[in-house]
């Protein structure tokens, strides 16, 4: 009996290694282990054995069944796996093709820089004020200590709509409008569009400016330096070198031009900074007593500083743009880059 069982196992195990697919395995399983299979047939002879051999042979039969079943299961698992692999291979895509997405829009680079500037000053407690783009001569010039027939008017070539009506050349008129309506202390910035009769690679007839000012009883030139240094360090790099040098604006005195170390060449000198290593980014100064007089402030009691910067210039430096006109051509290949 044992002999025949061993032979059966040997035959089965040799046959199993030649099985090629799941169907063959199932057929094989039926042939050997099925209810009418070969092992079952042998088991039927079990009754003929003497009682004392039965447990031993029984155990032997079970171990043979176990071994064959294990081989079958292994084989079935292997076939299932390779079958799945085959299927997945067939469903392969080119995963290197680009993805599908809805194109996002972008804020205009000028808006982005403007937002950044406003955010920095808001963080320092500056409120935002706005004013009209069409201004009167009084607000744009007279109240800012730029009388008629003064050569300082040449500094800003103006578009006129009427004899005394013009497109504002700076957002400084907002300074006058705010001071006429409020008493110090004041911390205000005025962002907006301004217009000058000028057009070349670095000038467009319309551009954006942020003007800011602070008025209180103890504001000094040192405060001006401190606030603008903090601002520039926030807008550019923390370690950007900054210098203040004397200049002239009719509505501030002392006046300053604020330069940062050239961000293109790090101060070594290049085409953008005309070899000087410095870039002019801000105009500033202590508010002129004549301006305070125009709005009815006592200049012995109050002092303040004001500053202004051109957003296009900052955006050109930040993004490396060399022609200001690109901002207003609105080529979508340009707008998408920011």
């Amino acid at each position: 009996m044992k002999e025949r069982l061993l032979q059966l196992e040997k035959a089965a195990l040799s046959e199993i290694s030649s099985l090629k697919n799941k169907e063959a395995v199932l057929e094989f399983k039926n042939k050997y282990l099925g209810r009418k299979g070969e092992l079952a047939a042998l088991t039927k002879e079990f009754g003929k054995l003497p009682p004392e051999e039965r447990p031993i042979v029984g155990e032997f039969i079970n171990s043979i069944r176990g071994r064959i079943e294990e081989r079958i299961n292994n084989l079935l698992t292997a076939f299932a796996q390779s079958e799945r692999e085959q299927r997945l291979k067939g469903e392969k895509i080119d995963a290197t093709l680009p993805g599908r997405y809805l194109a996002l829009g972008k804020r205009h680079p000028i808006t982005q820089v403007m937002d950044e500037v406003v955010k920095i000053f808001s963080g320092m407690g500056f409120a935002v004020a706005e004013g009209p783009e069409i201004e009167t001569d009084y607000y744009n010039f007279e109240a800012l200590n730029i009388p008629k027939d003064h050569p300082a008017r040449d500094m800003q070539d103006t578009f006129y709509i009427g004899e005394d009506v013009l497109l504002r050349t700076h957002t400084s008129p907002v300074q006058i409008r705010v001071m006429q309506n409020k008493k110090p202390p004041l911390r205000v910035i005025a962002p907006g569009k301004v217009y000058r009769r000028d057009s070349d690679v670095t000038h467009t007839p319309m551009f954006h400016q942020v003007e800011g000012f602070m008025v209180d009883e103890t504001i000094t030139f040192g405060d001006l330096k401190g606030v603008l240094t903090a601002f520039l360090h926030s807008l550019f790099r923390e370690d950007t070198a900054i210098r203040f040098r004397p200049s002239f604006f009719p509505f501030t005195e002392p006046s300053a031009e604020v330069d940062i170390q050239c961000v293109i060449c790090n101060g070594k000198g290049c085409r953008v900074c005309k070899g000087s290593g410095w870039l002019e980014v801000l105009g500033a100064g202590m508010i002129h007593p004549m301006v305070f007089k125009a709005v009815g402030y006592d200049s012995e009691r109050f002092s303040g500083f004001a500053f202004g910067l051109g957003i296009e210039r900052i955006a050109m430096l930040k993004f490396g743009i060399d022609d200001i006109r690109l901002f207003f051509e609105n080529d979508v290949r340009f707008l998408r880059q920011f």
Partner: protein, 808 residues
């Protein structure tokens, strides 16, 4: 202002090198915008004399010359033919450098050795002679062997200084030298004054008479006369000086007046004395309509608020601006009248603006000349003219000076200086600054004992120093802005709140950019053609009086004009899929008033999803645009609005346009651009626009967000497809459905709109999905059926519609 470095050296000992000097000036408020080396890099070019000119043995078109310098005799092969033996020339010896980095070496030309090169004007970076060609022939009196750049005055640097309008005192060599002296504490070299001995002629009073009719516009007028001069070309050095400062050399009289203006900053004018009628000079207002031909040859018509210099008959100069052609200095001029005066800045500026003439003279007078420096310039010029053109200077000068300059002292407080600057500068430092600035001062009584107060009198040339703050600025300048301590101000805290307008802009930008819109910024001014697209009446537009171009001559009336321009620009550059928006002002007139409104505009055109391998290639339509607007309005919490279809918006497609209204007020427009409009702009694909009024939006905005509980009971859905007359708009159906007022109806969705086959031509099929729900309980079928059939009954009664796929 161009300033010669060598000229400055005549005033300041041990002048810092050019770059260093430029930095010092810049940091003191005189921004140096550039330094130009006049030699343009020329080195090793010397004055040489040609000894012989022979034919080149191997080439007909070349010459072989022997040329002498202090180092010996050199063999030079040369292609030019304009020279002869004895001529002096500029010789570049081997190793010499020419402009643009060209290096000269010994060479063999056609088998003959050439030990250098004789240079032409253009090879030396100089303007070529008229009709020239050939090498540069130098003046005979130049010494052989001398450095070429040195003899020509080219071993110099020109500093280009940006002088701010408040500093007319710096519009001269002397002015800049004075400033350098103040900054560097180096002493100014003393200048020679006019020797009496030079006045050899007649008494000036016998030669001319001068009167000022308008002393408020001409506070001082001085003159000298030089007789028997010989007008001719200026000597080289003078030519070179005036030319390197940007002037054209004219003759030895005019060049002197320009030279002295450059040196001292005071404009002068020379008249041909023989052409001054009756030798009378009158400073008066022009008569209305009076005419003068100015030196530039243009006939000018004058008005009564202009000042002229007149002789007994007619104006001979526009005071302080330009001389008259008639009394111009020419080669025939024998006697000259030299004028040095002080004219009122405002008057000069008004006249210069009115006539459109800006001259070096008007530029200085309108900024303010030195009334006390008038005679110094006059003396210097007269003396130079005598030296350069011979002649006899008349004895004495005429000096009409009705009310001499009497400066007022400015009160300057130490405490104020330190308060404004946040410094601790002491008395001695202040006095040192004042002294360097040439400001006279004396200490006066202070209100507080610890303070110091000075009465400060600036020199007459510093017309900008009028108030205490002006002096404080100058002290800060000399002290150095860099040394002023940097501080941060102490200030009360304050909450910074965004305005409603800002909130709308912010949210709109967020929503539209999330939706794929790029933000554009167009100019606020447009061409009349673009303007007319959106504004039927051109007179409602704000026109610029002085536009740069016709294309930018009228303030936009709508953002649509700019957005169409953006579309056109992009289509021209093959960017065919456009989704842009803009937030900005539009302008109009209302009677005499101007009006500004802020708008939000948008435009879409082209493929909905752009060009990609894996997206559908659908083209955008009206509903893409309208959906974008609806999204913006929803995002801003604007719910109380209606859209009314309109066919009468001129630039929009009839039947594909309409307006948004809130509380009975128009809030904006939306639609497809009219094909005629597109054609007029040469745009070849459909475009859809919207424009919303930001201020009206603000009145309808509700930015307060409120939570709605998520429904706990199931909804019941009923679909209904109906055949509707095509004239009926969905909005009308919707109004009726809402009008039934069922509390159970939560929402109506449209899931299909169809017209075409199987539907009569004047009808369309619209399929609606009705969602019913109660927040309190699960609805029964009966309840829903009742509500649903009530709605359908109403629709049938109102519009005679036919229900197709009615479900029970």
């Amino acid at each position: 202002m161009k300033i010669s470095y060598n000229w400055l050296k005549q005033y300041i000992k041990a002048l810092p090198p050019p770059a260093k000097l430029a930095e010092k000036l810049t940091m003191a408020g005189l921004e140096v915008e550039g330094i130009e080396a006049l030699d343009k890099g020329i080195k090793g070019v010397v004055v040489a004399q040609i000894l012989s000119v022979e034919k080149h043995p191997n080439a007909d078109r070349l010459l072989f010359c022997k040329v002498k310098t202090d180092k010996g005799i050199h063999s030079i092969v040369c292609g030019a033919r304009n020279m002869k033996a004895g001529d002096k020339v500029a010789l570049a010896l081997p190793g010499a450098m020419l402009p643009k980095g060209i290096k000269i070496e010994k060479t063999k030309i056609r088998g003959v050795e050439s030990e250098g090169m004789m240079c032409s004007e253009s090879e030396l970076g100089l303007p070529p002679l008229q009709g020239g060609g050939g090498i540069m022939i130098l003046s005979q009196d130049l010494p052989i062997g001398k450095d070429f750049t040195e003899t020509m005055g080219l071993n110099d640097y020109i500093l280009n200084i940006n002088v701010t309008p408040n500093r007319p005192d710096c519009l001269s060599i002397l002015g800049i030298a004075r400033e350098i002296s103040a900054i560097t504490k180096k002493m100014l070299k003393a200048q020679k004054t006019l020797g009496k001995a030079i006045e050899k002629g007649k008494d000036i009073k016998k030669l001319v008479s001068i009167s000022i009719d308008e002393p408020s516009l001409c506070r001082r007028y001085t003159a000298r006369v030089v007789e028997n001069i010989k007008v001719g070309p200026s000597p080289e050095w003078l030519k070179q000086r005036v030319e390197s400062h940007g002037f054209r050399s004219i003759n030895n009289v005019v060049d002197v007046t320009n030279y002295v203006m450059l040196e001292y900053g005071h404009p002068l004018h020379a008249f041909d004395c023989n052409l001054v009628s009756e030798k009378q000079v009158i400073v008066r207002r022009a008569h209305e309509g009076e005419k003068i031909q100015t030196l530039d040859g243009i006939a000018r018509v004058l008005t009564n608020d202009m000042l002229v210099i007149s002789d007994a008959e007619k104006p001979i100069a526009l005071a302080g601006i330009m001389g008259g052609k008639e009394s111009e200095i020419t080669e025939r001029t024998k006697n000259i009248l030299l004028e040095s005066a002080y004219f009122d800045p405002s008057c000069i500026r008004r006249t210069s603006k009115a006539l459109g003439i800006v001259t070096e003279s008007s530029y200085r007078f309108e900024r303010g000349a030195d009334i006390e420096g008038v005679t110094r310039a006059l003396d210097k010029a007269a003396q130079m003219i005598v030296e350069l053109s011979g002649g006899d200077m008349a004895r004495g000068m005429i000096d009409k000076y009705p009310r001499p300059y009497r400066p007022a002292a400015i009160r300057v407080r130490l405490s104020r200086i330190n308060k404004i600057l946040s410094t601790t500068i002491n008395r001695k430092e202040i006095e040192d600054c004042l002294e360097r600035l040439g400001i006279n001062f004396k200490q006066v009584k202070a209100q507080k004992r610890e303070d110091a107060v000075w009465g400060a009198t600036p020199p007459s040339i510093r017309v900008d120093l009028v108030k205490e703050i002006d002096i404080i600025e100058d002290i800060a300048r000399l002290y150095g802005y860099g040394k002023i301590p940097t501080a941060l101000p102490l200030a009360r805290l304050s909450a910074v709140k965004k305005s409603g307008v800002d909130l709308i802009r912010e949210k709109t930008r967020d929503i539209l950019t999330n939706n794929g819109f790029l933000e554009a910024i167009n100019y606020s001014f447009v061409s009349p053609k673009l303007f007319k697209i959106t504004a039927p009446d051109i007179d409602s537009g704000l026109k610029l009086i002085n536009p740069l171009t016709e294309e930018q001559s009228i303030m936009r009336h709508s953002l649509v004009s700019g957005l169409l321009e953006t579309l056109r620009y992009n289509l021209n550059h093959n960017n065919n899929n456009i989704k842009v928006f803009e937030i900005g002002g539009i302008f109009a007139t209302r009677g005499k008033e101007t009006e500004e409104r802020e708008m939000i505009g948008g435009l879409i055109s082209g493929l909905r999803h752009g060009e990609a391998w894996n997206v559908s290639r659908d083209v955008v339509d009206f509903y893409d645009m309208k959906g974008a607007v609806e999204q913006v309005l929803a995002g801003l919490g604007i719910v109380a609005y209606t859209f009314i279809a309109k066919s009468d918006i001129p630039f929009l497609y009839p039947g594909k346009a309409g307006i948004f209204e809130t509380n009975g007020k128009p809030m904006g427009i939306a639609g497809e651009i009219h094909p005629d409009t597109l054609q007029s702009l040469d745009i070849k694909q459909p475009a859809y626009i919207f424009e919303l009024d930001l201020h009206v939006m603000m009145t309808a905005m509700n930015s307060q967000k409120k939570y709605n509980p998520i429904p706990r009971y199931p909804m019941i859905v009923r679909d209904a497809a109906m055949i509707v007359n095509r004239e009926i708009q969905f909005q009308e159906l919707y109004e009726v459905i809402k009008g039934v007022g069922s509390k159970l109806l939560e929402k109506v969705d449209i899931f299909d709109v169809y017209y075409g086959e199987h539907i009569p031509e004047d009808k369309l099929s619209i399929a609606l999905r009705f969602l019913y729900r109660s927040p309190e309980r699960t609805l029964t079928d009966d309840e829903v059926n009742n509500a649903h059939s009530a709605i359908l009954e109403n629709l049938k009664n109102r519009f005679g519609i036919e229900i197709r796929g009615e479900e029970a």
